[in-house]
Structure formats: structure tokens, C-alpha cells
């Protein structure tokens, strides 16, 4: 596809100008956001590099939506700066290059999907064609339905489509799959991957580690307004997860804690529970040291548990 290659080329050139001096297409630098006595974000540093899909992962109230709203210029930081394409996120020129899917309870219900798209397309100088939006957001067959007649998943897809109307370079997706069943969720994942394949920069917030893992190049875990961990999905999982070894053994807790790769040891009744990302090595060592070891179980904690451990332990 030479056409795509050409497009990528020019896109990188355009990014090159926007990337000075910090190589980031959008950034929060030392941003603190306070609502009265509540600290929503606490000295947050976040940079989005061109073409990457970043997942902002955290429990409810962690500050994910606040970060997105700051980058959209909907709210102003208490201190620190939010920059998008090197400028103020409130600039109309900036907004022409940004698309946003926010958490919305209800959008005007007595307009048809096609009408919503028509209106949002008019905001941009070079919008995607309706056919293109319908294809990417998978709105085939519901274009002429009133918004009120759509299912939950279809409504989310329309909001996704509205975020794409201006063919934006940077897309914010705030909890895009919240309230969706598993099938609809996977459908939307596919559409988000399509975006990434078109070279878009995407910031997505989610409280599902599984979702971040499936979509993101980079995961930023936040809790209580602070970044607690950051890395590729594999890194995040290895830091957070590890596996759980449970057995009956004569080995002491002190000895087990000293084994390389062991993150925690707990006595649980007659059993001992060892957490480690390097389960095979640890088990080999334990079997070697204690021939009487019995009742061995090795389990991968669910991703969600691992994530919970990550956000509660710090």
C-alpha cells in the first residue's frame, strides 16, 4: 500500500514539529488537580508519544477521567501544565486534531445516528466521510435509527464514531467499554486496534487490566492521583502478578523469603503461600531442599487480583 506509506511519512513529519522539545504529542507536566479538599491528581507526569496506544489503568476515582479532561482542556490544572500538540488544549486549532469519547449518560435521543454524524462532521475542515465513519465504528444498518432506539453497545459505538468525525491524530477514550457485555467489548477493541493501525495516538482509560493488556503499547497504572507503575503490558503483569505457590513444607518462612524472586511468603494454616513471578525456579529449589514437601498447588492469580494488589499495596 504505497498510499499508506506516503501518509505515514507526512504524518511523521508533522509530528516532528509538534514533538519539539519533549517528543510528546500531548503531555501533563507536574499536574496537580484539586477539587476543594479532594486531590484528584497529585503531581502527575504523563507523556503520549506519536502513534502509541497508552492505557491509563486504575480503580474508580483514581484520577483517570480527570487526566483526560485536563488534556481536553475541559478543566484547568490547579498547578502544572497540560499541553497538546505543543499548545493549549483549549485552542480551537488543537481541538480540530483531537477526538474524544467521554462517559455520557445520554445524548440527544431524538436525532438519528446519521444526523449526529452530520453535525459533528461539520465542525471539522476535513472530516472523514460518513461511509468511512460508519465502517470504522461499525454502524452499518443503524444509521437511520434514532439514538433512543439503540442498544447500549450501539450507543457506545456511536459515541466512538463521533470521536472519529474529524479524522483526529489524537483520540481520547474514557472508559470506552464500560457497561458493555463481553462480545460488544471485544468488538470495540477491534475498532480501537483499527485506529492504532491507522497511526493514531490513543489514550484510553479503563479499570480492566485485561483491556489495557489487549490494546495498549504502554500501561500507566494510577491510583489516588499518582502513577504507581508504568511499562509494557508484559512488564506490568510481571511486576504485579507473579504466581501463587501453595504447599505444606518444613522450610521456614525466613528461608523462603530469602529465595531469589520471592515477593512474599505467608503462613496459611498448615500451608505456606509463596508469591513469585519466577514460580518454576522457586518450586525447583523448594523441592530440592524439602523432600517431604506435599500438597503443591501453583496458581496464576486472576489479572484483576494482580491489579488490585498493585494499586492497594502502595
Amino acid at each position: 500500500m504505497p498510499a499508506t506509506a506516503v501518509m505515514r511519512e507526512t504524518e511523521f513529519e508533522r509530528y516532528a514539529s509538534a514533538m519539539q522539545p519533549q517528543q510528546a504529542i500531548a503531555a501533563l507536566s507536574g499536574v496537580t488537580k484539586r477539587y476543594g479538599d479532594t486531590l484528584a491528581l497529585d503531581g502527575m507526569n504523563l507523556a503520549l508519544r506519536p502513534g502509541e496506544v497508552v492505557a491509563l489503568l486504575g480503580p474508580n476515582g483514581a484520577g483517570k477521567s480527570t487526566a483526560v479532561r485536563l488534556l481536553l482542556g475541559l478543566i484547568a490544572p490547579t498547578s502544572g501544565t497540560a499541553r497538546v500538540f505543543g499548545g493549549d488544549p483549549q485552542n480551537p486549532e488543537t481541538r480540530l486534531r483531537v477526538g474524544a469519547m467521554l462517559q455520557v449518560a445520554r445524548i440527544p435521543e431524538t436525532l438519528r445516528v446519521r444526523e449526529h454524524l452530520d453535525l459533528f462532521r461539520s465542525y471539522y475542515a476535513n472530516p472523514l466521510s460518513v461511509a468511512e465513519i460508519v465502517r470504522i465504528a461499525q454502524l452499518e444498518g443503524i444509521e437511520d435509527k434514532m439514538f433512543s432506539k439503540l442498544s447500549g453497545g450501539q450507543k457506545q459505538r456511536v459515541l466512538f464514531g463521533l470521536a472519529l468525525c474529524g479524522d483526529p491524530d489524537l483520540v481520547f477514550l474514557d472508559e470506552p467499554t464500560v457497561g458493555m457485555d463481553i462480545e460488544a467489548r471485544r468488538g470495540l477493541w477491534q475498532q480501537i486496534r483499527t485506529l492504532a493501525n491507522r497511526g493514531k495516538t490513543v489514550l484510553l482509560t479503563t479499570h480492566y487490566l485485561e483491556e489495557a493488556d489487549a490494546l495498549a503499547h504502554r500501561i500507566v497504572v494510577i491510583n489516588k492521583g499518582k502513577i504507581v507503575s508504568e511499562g509494557t503490558p508484559a512488564e506490568i503483569k510481571s511486576v504485579s502478578a507473579g504466581r501463587k505457590i501453595r504447599c505444606r513444607t518444613r522450610l521456614t518462612v525466613e528461608f523462603l523469603s530469602g529465595l531469589p524472586g520471592v515477593t512474599s511468603v505467608e503462613q496459611s494454616g498448615d500451608d505456606v503461600v509463596v508469591m513469585t513471578p519466577r514460580a518454576e525456579e522457586v518450586v525447583r529449589e523448594m523441592l530440592l531442599r524439602d523432600a517431604t514437601l506435599s500438597g503443591l498447588e501453583i496458581a496464576s492469580p486472576a489479572l484483576e487480583d494482580a491489579f488490585l494488589a498493585l494499586t492497594t499495596s502502595r
Binding site: 498510499a3 501518509m7 479532561r69 475541559l74 481541538r95 449518560a105 436525532l111 444526523e115 465542525y123
Partner: protein
């Protein structure tokens, strides 16, 4: 088909990037136009709004205006007076419910935030809301005039009809400003109730439902402080039913009211932005 094809070509990224295809002004005009069109369609299809807002003044006019087609007392022809009164009642209702309740709902649902995050010029949104109120005001006034002419035994000159439309537009814009303020202050689920609590007593006291001369004197004095009264006087002046105060004082009162509403709305909005 030809158009469709062209549109697809235009939207492929590498052709679309280098030069904007529409000039800035043309695009802005187009945004205002579409925003207005869809605001109107949205209101029209929202039955709980469009039926109520149009049907109530018509029903009241049929009940109290048309049935009193023969009634003349102290120089006032009831069907003619109430045409002016219910025209104002309709215009004000469309503005307060369309904007006050409508915008409060869109704000609470998070839709306003989606709009604000988009490159839509904020003025386009306000303009469309205002035009929605103006359109429904004109629809209501047109319906009432038709009833008055056909069933109410009222005769109107072309100039009177035109002046009624003019006052209707002024009233829509003026009460749109009150709608904006209510939308900013009132929680969405309480909005319809609160709007009614303000709208109905003001309408009664200002003589929109019956000649104001029939009301107790102290109520008439209260009326002079209400914007609804000044709009009603401007409308009734067309028929020669206005009281003795000058037209200029009513215009100024209405203009002052509008400015205060817009000013306070602006303050409230900015305060909310800072605390957001």
C-alpha cells in the same frame, strides 16, 4: 452518486491534509446552520416538549379566548386580549422549557462536555438554542393567530400580525437568557418543576391569562417588577390594550432583564469553570 464519490476521495487522509477544502467563514456559517437545524428537529421530535409547549397555549386559548368571543367588558374584547396574553405565555414557555430544561438535561448527562471538547464554536450552541426558542415561539403565535381569526371572531391587520411576530422574537430571545441562567443553576431532574414554579405564577400575575385590570391592585404593582409583564404590555400595545406607562419603559425593562440574566449566567458559568 457523483457527490458520494467525490466525498470519499476528499476524505482520504493524504489528499485531505494539505489544504482545508472549505474556507473558515463558510465552515462557521455551516456549523451555525446545522446546529440550529438539529436543535429544532430535536425539540420537534421530543413530544413531551413540543406537544406540551404548543398545546397548552392553544388549549387555554380555546377554553378562555374562543369561548369568550362575544365578551366585551370595559373596552376589552376578551378573545383579542387573550390572543396577546397566550402568545406571550407560549413564547415564554418555549424559551424556558426548551432552553432551561433542555440545556440543564444536556449538561447533567455529560453531552455538553462532549460538545465542549469538540471544535464546535460555543456561540453556535447558544445561537441554536436561542433559534430553537424563536422558532417554537413563532409556531405558537402563528397557531394562536389562526385560531383567533377563524374561531375567535378577532380581526387583525397585516401590520398587527407582523408586529406580533416581532414582539414574539424579542420575547423568545429575552427569555432565552433566563433559560440559560436556569439551566446553569438548576439540577436537571428538578428543572421542569422549578421552571413551572417560576413560569406559571409570573404568567398569572402579569395578566397573560386574564386582563391584568381584573387583578387586585397590589398584584398589579408586583407585576410591574416582572419581565413577563413588560413583554405582555408590548404585545397588548399592538391591540391598544396596554396600560398608561410608555412603550420605551417596557423595552428598557426587558432589555435590562435580558442583560442581567446574561451577565449573571456568564458569572455563574465562569465560576463553575474555575471550580471544575
Amino acid at each position: 452518486m457523483q457527490m458520494q464519490y467525490r466525498e470519499n476521495i476528499m476524505s482520504t487522509p493524504f489528499i485531505a491534509y494539505p489544504q482545508p477544502t472549505t474556507s473558515g467563514i463558510a465552515r462557521t456559517v455551516n456549523i451555525f446552520r446545522k446546529e440550529t437545524k438539529y436543535e429544532f428537529l430535536k425539540l420537534l421530535r421530543n413530544r413531551s416538549f413540543s406537544l406540551a409547549v404548543i398545546a397548552f397555549p392553544i388549549m387555554f386559548y380555546l377554553l378562555f379566548g374562543v369561548t369568550n368571543r362575544g365578551a366585551n367588558s370595559s373596552g376589552i374584547h376578551m378573545a383579542r386580549y387573550l390572543l396577546g396574553g397566550y402568545a406571550c405565555f407560549g413564547v415564554i414557555g418555549a424559551a424556558l422549557f426548551g432552553i432551561g430544561v433542555g440545556l440543564a438535561g444536556e449538561r447533567a448527562a455529560g453531552w455538553l462536555e462532549v460538545k465542549r471538547a469538540s471544535p464546535m464554536p460555543p456561540m453556535a450552541y447558544l445561537f441554536a438554542k436561542c433559534m430553537g426558542a424563536v422558532s417554537f415561539g413563532l409556531i405558537i403565535v402563528t397557531a394562536l393567530i389562526s385560531l383567533a381569526l377563524t374561531m375567535g371572531g378577532v380581526s387583525l391587520s397585516a401590520s398587527e400580525v407582523l408586529r406580533m411576530f416581532g414582539v414574539s422574537v424579542v420575547g423568545s430571545v429575552s427569555f432565552a437568557s433566563m433559560g440559560f441562567l436556569l439551566a446553569l443553576l438548576v439540577p436537571a431532574n428538578a428543572a421542569p418543576g422549578i421552571v413551572n414554579l417560576i413560569y406559571l405564577p409570573m404568567s398569572f400575575v402579569s395578566g397573560l391569562w386574564m386582563p391584568i385590570q381584573y387583578l387586585p391592585h397590589w398584584l398589579q404593582r408586583v407585576a410591574a417588577a416582572l419581565p413577563t409583564y413588560h413583554l405582555a404590555q408590548l404585545m397588548l400595545r399592538i391591540f391598544g390594550y396596554a396600560d398608561h406607562s410608555s412603550a420605551v419603559s417596557h423595552w428598557l425593562s426587558l432589555a435590562g432583564f435580558t442583560m442581567v440574566m446574561l451577565g449573571v449566567s456568564w458569572l455563574v458559568f465562569n465560576r463553575a469553570q474555575q471550580n471544575a
